[in-house]
């Protein structure tokens, strides 16, 4: 029973919005899904082949030249002191014409590929199965309210001129809370699997902590700045970390 359920779940994932990335999973879901995937892949390979053909390279070169001439025309427009003189009008016109000539080939290719057709008739709307989406309007509104409130607290701290080191601590604390709220609810991490959370968050925290390894050096270099000629009081004063 357990086994069957798992297979059903996996095949639902494959036919639904998710794609498998595990060959074992693919094999478990049966040959039908495998064949379907094979057929899905082949147009993509064909697309890749056309991407590397000479036609595309030609179009790219044409587009680059056209952009270059347009840039020349634009620079002429901005650099010419008196734009409405014969010379400047002539130069601009020639540049625009050259750009137009180089644009003909890419435009024709785009027309042949059907890029100018109406999008509605070009491709059907993607049909998908039921989509999993947690969270209500009320929840998101309350999260937004919290974020706004915390931001206003931060701004209020700046308004009443709290000493900088206290302010730094409070600001970092509030910002971490805000970041956690955004990640948990807006970025839906709270509704994802624990595996994903444990893959993403700890590594980030560890790396950021590792970056702080060099930080004590900054206080040391601050102390190195105070010269021996200074009075002991001045040295002591400069040793206070001034943010």
């Amino acid at each position: 029973m357990e086994k069957r359920e798992t297979n059903e779940d996996v095949s639902r994932l494959i036919h639904g919005s998710m794609r498998p990335f595990d060959e074992k999973v693919l094999a478990a879901s049966g040959g039908a899904a495998g064949a379907r995937r094979e057929r899905e892949l082949s147009p993509r390979m064909r697309k890749l082949k056309t991407l590397l053909s000479g036609e595309v390279i030609l179009n790219v070169i044409c587009l680059l030249l056209a952009v270059g001439f347009l840039a020349l025309a634009a620079s002429n427009f901005s650099l010419a002191g008196n734009f409405l003189s014969i010379d400047s009008l002539f130069l601009t016109l020639v540049c625009l014409m050259m750009a137009g000539i180089f644009l003909v080939n890419p435009a024709w290719t785009a027309y042949e590929k059907g890029l100018f057709k109406r999008p509605a008739s070009a491709a059907p709307v993607v049909e998908e199965g039921p989509i999993h989406f947690e969270g209500s309007l009320r929840l998101f509104l309350s999260i937004l309210g919290w974020l706004l409130a915390l931001t206003l607290i931060e701004v209020f701290l700046a308004y009443i001129h709290v000493p900088l080191h206290i302010m730094l601590t409070v600001l970092i604390g509030l910002s971490v809370i805000k970041a956690a709220l955004i990640m948990a609810y807006f970025m839906h991490l709270r509704f994802e699997r624990l595996s994903l959370v444990l893959t993403l968050v700890p590594i980030l925290v560890v790396c950021i902590c590792l970056m702080f390894i060099v930080f004590p050096d900054s206080f040391r270099s601050l102390n190195l700045r105070s010269t021996p000629a200074q009075s002991p009081a001045a040295i002591k004063e400069s040793q206070q970390p001034s943010h």
């Binding site: 700046a158 805000k178 955004i182 807006f186």
Partner: protein, 221 residues
């Protein structure tokens, strides 16, 4: 089937995820790719912010030039734009989950408007500091007189961090525009992935705004 799968999902333990026969992360390959990109990009931004903090902590003095009004109020409005656009993005993903393509497009457009508003406001902000004379490796004269011991790196850190973030917002606007144009042809997962990217941009700003703006508020005014 759906409720059964849901029940099934809740009952399996973490170890069972890795014992084979099922997808351990339960997400598509594109979404996993976007998550990995987000993690690596988060490391880039944290390296920049830590570098900025390092320079600032090793300096004897650091300019704190932003008056509460207009600079801080201005950047707060920018923050609100980004937060609002993040919310509309959530609504877009929700509409997409209901297969409501029209609403999805409208919410996506609202998100793009929020992003564009942020970009324009940030551009104006940049113009202000550049007009004051701030350059990547030199301070304006008034600042240099007020904070004589300050290293000239305020501009470098400011332009690098906010510039990279602006670039991300710009990329996000283009990305969302592409999704909004093709909303009838893309899958729900694609909309969701673009949402992930957009929320990440918002998340980064939640650190840039306090560290770059609020920590540089002018204490004397």
């Amino acid at each position: 089937m759906a409720t059964e799968a849901l029940h099934h999902r809740e009952t399996v333990s973490l170890a069972d995820d890795w014992s084979g026969g099922r997808l351990p992360y339960h997400v598509g390959h594109k979404k996993l790719g976007m998550w990995l990109f987000i993690v690596s990009d988060a490391m880039t931004f944290s390296a920049l912010l830590i570098g900025y903090s390092y320079v600032r902590a090793s300096a004897q003095e650091w300019p704190t030039p932003y008056a509460f009004y207009p600079s801080i109020i201005f950047s707060t409005v920018m923050t609100l734009c980004l937060l609002a656009s993040s919310f509309t993005m959530v609504m877009a993903v929700g509409a997409s989950a209901r297969q409501d393509k029209k609403r999805t497009r409208l919410w996506l457009l609202a998100t793009i408007v929020g992003g564009l508003a942020f970009l324009i406001l940030h551009g104006i902000e940049w113009m202000h500091v550049i007009e004051e004379g701030l350059r990547p490796f030199s301070l304006p004269h008034e600042w240099a007189e007020r904070w004589p011991k300050a290293p000239p790196l305020f501009g470098a850190s400011f332009f690098a961090i906010t510039g990279l973030h602006m670039f991300h917002v710009l990329t996000g606007v283009l990305y969302l525009g592409y999704i909004a144009l093709r909303v009838r042809r893309v899958r729900h997962e694609d909309v969701e992935i673009s949402g992930l990217y957009w929320h990440f941009v918002d998340l980064v700003w939640m650190f840039v705004f306090p560290l770059v703006y609020l920590m540089s508020v002018d204490m004397t005014k």
